[in-house]
Amino acid sequence: MANYLPHTESEVQEMLAFLGMNSMDDLFAHIPESLRIAGGLNLAPGRSEPDVADQIAHYTSRNKSTNDLVCFAGGGAYDHEVPSVVRALASRSEFVTAYTPYQPEVAQGVLQAIFEYQTMIARLSGLPIANASLYDAATALVEAVNMAAGATKRAKLVISAGVHPHWRQVVRTFARGTGHELVVAPLRDGVTDWSAVNCDGAAAVVASYPNYLGVVEDMAAARHVATASGALFVVGTDPVLASILKTPGTWGADIVVGEGQPFGTPLSYGGPYLGLFACTEEQIRRLPGRLVGETVDVDGRRAFVTTLRAREQDIRREKATSNVCTNQTLMAVGAAIQLGYLGTEGLRDVAERCVAGAHYAADALTSLPGVELAVTAPFGREFALRLPIDASIAIAALADDGILAGLSVAALAGDEDAGVNDPQNVLLVSVTEKRTRREIDAFVVALGKLVK
């Protein structure tokens, strides 16, 4: 049994006596007898931490991690370096075991870190406001379309098929409640064909920059469609590439969302991740989640505090634009640390290495017989590769060579429009700054054995 409880048996008795009670059960006497569990929960007895560690080892022994497989999988979750210094700082227990900074007097640590995070995310977005984090990119996109719907009082969402299929799926799920109507604009050779759909009356036009197949799309066209239809322009961004591409703000985005995992969060089997959210000043009263602002204390000392609280659910209740409460602060603090570590130069260096590595890999892989790019549009850090075989089979086979070759586009897209033909043969390959030439060459050799 666990040992995190402090009371000794005699203390329990003393406390019960103080309450005029004889047993723990007396504490629950007012609960209808019929409801009380008779024999206790049907769970295994508690075991000590070392015993449970053995159980955890049983689980981990049947997972393949990046210690086992060289990772070319991306799709919104990237195998970036998380340096020791970032891990050490982000795991300081003051950050880990704090609650939301409700009492600013004793929460300046988290508050200032979030302020710095907001600054960096706003800059990368090219927009003036960034919030203190949302759950992940997919749910951030939901908040974005809700914001757009609120601002425009419209219900139609035009979303590029270049937006990550999972994000689209999540938007679809939550649209069941909000009643939003989804229109997916198809891809032609990897690029969104906005003309294929009717954007009139849209609340939001949602593009991805780059899109989920890695393609760096024409944002001017998307902005134009949004303007023409009176919609807000929502851009899903890869925040790493945001350091070399023009910012979404430069392209005229009203709202920017993205996945912050690349900034200091390990792959973590998909979570906890970090939903990035930035917007224009016009939308600030509809901003979801927490926002930290600078102010002064009674002695005139600079201080940080959560602000514009009146937007939030605890005050606005059913009229709130969002229900988010607990978010992903620790990941945001980690992102601030990671971005502090990388700095202007480092983030660009990382992005450039990703792009150069992806192109090196694409060139090498397409030299194999029957292997070609599935779309020919320019790409950044990942690319869609058409194989002569099923991508899932290739992934399974290459795992035996110690390589996680990428993601199957068909598996990723599920019921969503994959944006490419015959997606089951398309492999989405991603290259981060961690991938070496030797690793890529080994990938080529291993795939070569398979397709030959």
Binding site: L19, M24, Y102, V106, E345, G346
Partner: protein, 504 residues
């Protein structure tokens, strides 16, 4: 000399002084750098060689430029400016700020969990799928439900997921319903979720006992009611004793019962939402199962449901495969994904480890001790801070400072601020909204009797001060890195970034 704030001056570390900590940007000096990258042997050409030039930024996005040493000093000092469970008692009601076992940190750092790509095929991540299945099993047993989704990333996400399940259920019956009932004591996420779920909120009052007013409920019920959202124990820390009757009433009109599991810590192994008649239950793993709050997240908000709702659960779900092992499946009438991947997986793994260490008896002991502590504290300070409701409480006690306000114009906020000087984090104040001058104490089960007594003594001291020197309380805190802050100014002159603060 280049202007920049000195990165190594520790005057903002409370150990040394009470200065302001410079921002990372104030410490930044162009050309300074911390980062190091692996040697890859891949040539990096100018980006124009890979990407159309019209896409390329003409100016780099400016972040900061600091040395690794200054980065460490900055964030270490920030950590010293931050209260946390690991420093002391954090009796923040409704938040269950219990001790977070370090063992669970170790679990979350296992490379075999933390370094797994979420898109890795199921046959290469059987360990992860088994974790998800095992956790689902445990959570269903604890709540008395049939199946669960682990995708929602926090309680509020769980609520909305649950409401979408409710909607799917009714819609499958061709049964368009309009309203969801919520007591006036409900947490703000409840009504907000209802709206996002496409329903209207009907608020019903609590009675003078602090419980659901059953008569009012009856009045509110009707064939257009999709369901009701309740916490039990409710947000004033009291058990809804008429829950069976309530469940019957709601079910009778064809509505479903949603259980907000934020207060599950109080009833672990004692009663189960499923046995009370709830159809849908979310849990806050960051509360009940001690996954740390991280300064405001990440959490995890799994939703468990009764059998008749299982077919609507989000997918994909990890399931036992007929042929042995584990596989991803999507329920027949799934509402779809509610998370980009599989939920806050590492948080889920932490919670499973916590449950395994405790086991059946351990979890029950958690509830027992949590409730014991809250009742003890409530009774211990009853003479100075009366409970809002004169009933046995569960894991938290809502007290009221109304007498203090009347007598000496000392408010709940003043008590909260003064408590910090006495070495305790403040309780939750002004929540729930239905209690005047509410002070909501949730000591949790990991606090000792000695700590509770110290808290009580501090409250007695503050009470005495309120009688003789109320100004002293209005003026608190004085010993913290900053004192009361100008919240109005923060909202009026919004400076949410370094740029807005004019220091870009």
């Amino acid at each position: 000399m280049t202007y920049a704030a000195p990165g190594s001056r520790a005057k903002s570390a409370p150990l040394m002084g009470r200065d302001t900590e410079p921002t990372l940007f104030e410490m930044s000096v162009e050309g300074r750098r911390a980062y190091q990258l692996r040697t890859t042997d891949i040539d990096v050409k100018p980006m124009g060689a890979y990407l159309p030039v019209e896409h390329l930024a003409t100016q780099p996005v400016k972040l900061a430029a600091v040395s690794e040493r200054d980065l460490v000093a900055h964030f270490t000092r920030l950590s010293h400016r931050q209260f946390a469970v690991d420093l002391g008692m954090y009796p923040l009601g409704s938040c269950t700020m219990k001790y977070n076992p370090k063992f669970c940190d170790t679990v979350a750092n296992e490379p075999g969990l933390a370094k797994v790509h979420p898109g890795t095929p199921a046959h290469l991540t059987q360990g992860w799928l088994e974790i998800l299945v095992d956790l689902e099993d445990r959570l269903c047993e604890i709540t008395g439900m049939a199946a669960a989704t682990l995708q929602p990333a926090a309680g509020a996400a769980g609520e909305l997921t649950g409401l979408l399940l409710m909607r799917a259920y009714h819609e499958a019956r061709g049964d368009a319903r309009r309203r969801v009932i919520i007591p006036d004591s409900a947490h703000g996420t409840n009504p907000a979720s209802v709206t996002l779920g496409g329903y209207e909120v009907t608020t019903i009052p609590s009675d003078e006992r602090g419980l659901v007013d059953v008569e009012a409920l009856k009045g509110a019920l009707g064939p257009d009611v999709a369901g009701i959202m309740l916490t039990n124990p409710n947000t004033v820390g009291l058990f809804e004793e008429e829950i069976i009757e309530i469940a019957g009433l709601v079910h009778d009109v064809g509505g479903l019962l949603y259980y907000d599991g934020a207060n599950l810590n109080a009833i672990l192994g004692v009663v189960r939402p499923g046995d009370m008649g709830f159809d849908i239950v979310h849990m806050n793993l960051h509360k009940t199962f001690a996954t740390p709050h991280g300064g405001g997240g990440p959490g995890a908000g799994p939703v468990a449901v009764a059998a008749h709702l299982a077919e609507y659960l989000p997918g994909p779900r990890a399931q036992r495969a007929d042929k042995g092992g584990f596989e991803w499946t999507t329920p027949a009438s799934s509402i779809g994904r509610v998370h980009g991947w599989h939920g806050n997986a590492l948080v889920l793994a932490r919670a499973l480890a916590y449950i395994e260490v405790h086991g059946a008896e351990g979890l029950t002991a958690v509830a027992h001790h949590a409730v014991l502590n809250a009742n003890w504290l409530k009774q211990r300070v009853a003479a100075i801070l009366p409970a809002a409701y004169d009933r046995p409480c569960m894991h938290e006690a809502v007290l009221t400072a109304t007498p203090w306000k009347k007598a000496n114009d000392v408010r709940a906020l003043d008590v909260a601020k003064r408590l910090m000087e006495e070495g305790f984090h403040a309780p939750t104040v002004y929540f729930p909204l239905i209690v005047d001058e509410a002070l909501m104490f949730e000591p949790t089960e990991t606090e000792s009797l000695q700590s509770l007594e110290a808290l009580a003594l501090a409250l007695e001291l503050i009470h005495a001060e309120s009688l003789t020197n109320p100004e002293f309380l209005h003026d608190a805190p004085r010993t913290t890195p900053v004192r009361r802050v100008d919240e109005a100014r923060a909202a009026r002159q919004l400076m949410a970034t370094e740029d807005a603060a004019g220091r870009s």
